[in-house]
Symmetry: C2
Subunit: 194 residues, 2 copies
Amino acid sequence: MPKVVDHHERRTRIAAALLQVAADRGIEAVSLRHVATEAGVSSGMVQHYFRTKDEMMTFALAVVAENVMARMAGQPVAETPAAMIRALVIELLPFDEQRRIEGRVLLAFHAHATNNPTIAALLRENADQLRTYLAERIRTEQAAGTTTAALDAGHIATGLLALADGLGVNVLVEHYTADEALATFDAYLTAVLG
Amino acid sequence: MPKVVDHHERRTRIAAALLQVAADRGIEAVSLRHVATEAGVSSGMVQHYFRTKDEMMTFALAVVAENVMARMAGQPVAETPAAMIRALVIELLPFDEQRRIEGRVLLAFHAHATNNPTIAALLRENADQLRTYLAERIRTEQAAGTTTAALDAGHIATGLLALADGLGVNVLVEHYTADEALATFDAYLTAVLG
DNA sequence: CGTTTTACGTTGCAGTCGCAATGTAAAACA
DNA sequence: TGTTTTACATTGCGACTGCAACGTAAAACG
């Protein structure tokens, strides 16, 4: 056998190139050759680590999902419940280049999921995870009496995430800036949590 | 000259076929040949009415935008401000097949707009129109004192539309049903408008 | 040290794409 | 009635796609 190689590392590197291509030129520009060129490798190597294009796409999506989750989990504990929610959801808005790229890719995958059950399932799994996490934290605050919100925590979480999704999309297509989106989000937060 | 032909009608018919293909098999399946087949015409005819694929896509998007606007404008005047907003935004949620198709197509175009200025501009124009319209109606209600909302009408409109966008996307990828989305939306409405 | 297994690189094939080019038929206009 | 103009249909070309099929070289293992 040749050089022992970290498969996961190679796949991750290729996925990163895929995300770059998708963010730069749209997901329809994601081809084996383009990704290979972007990664600086041969298309044969890409084929070596991903048997099909679909497998490559799915892996890349999983990478993005992991990144988002990791960023949210790495968030420090906030003082007030509103601040906590704000900090979490801000992570979903495209404020810097990294989040812009991820946002574009996620948007493209959402469009794709519309007629691709595999991708739809992957997206749904992550969204559920996020929603459950957020709802749980809201419930905790409600139990502790630190928030005035009388609404069902599940509805609040769903609404917050959907609002973040919608604002994110609108920022990505440049209907308004991330700051304006945040202002709108804040208005919603105060309305719901007091 | 041959048979005098209604150009706009032909283009609209082709656009309808495009939307069908996009909704059925994803926007990446939209090719001159597929659209032509779906419309039951030759690809030469499609080329006759649209000089480029891009022109065809843009036209189809404009058709969708018109449909949405027409449906919203055709909405009867509601009793309460909340009911009015609710009726308007419900039109944006994918409750029936028609709105599901339009939603899918719009979602795909939003992803596309991320790196296509022409489409981005078209989307932005429509979104602005919608937002202005909604904000204006909210302002009217506020002036009449028929709503308790203290927030800036612009922010409310932006938030409502973004929330509708986000909920719509989540319904399209089947994270939850349109009814659940509506429940969440209602919770938001009462929180904001009282 | 020889064998085997893995990690790539290269090439090619069948299919699809957008689009240009060309052909044909029919109706409006002179 | 003849000419011109428009409405299509057909064909083909160059570019691109995913993917299979090979080839090669190097390192782990016996």
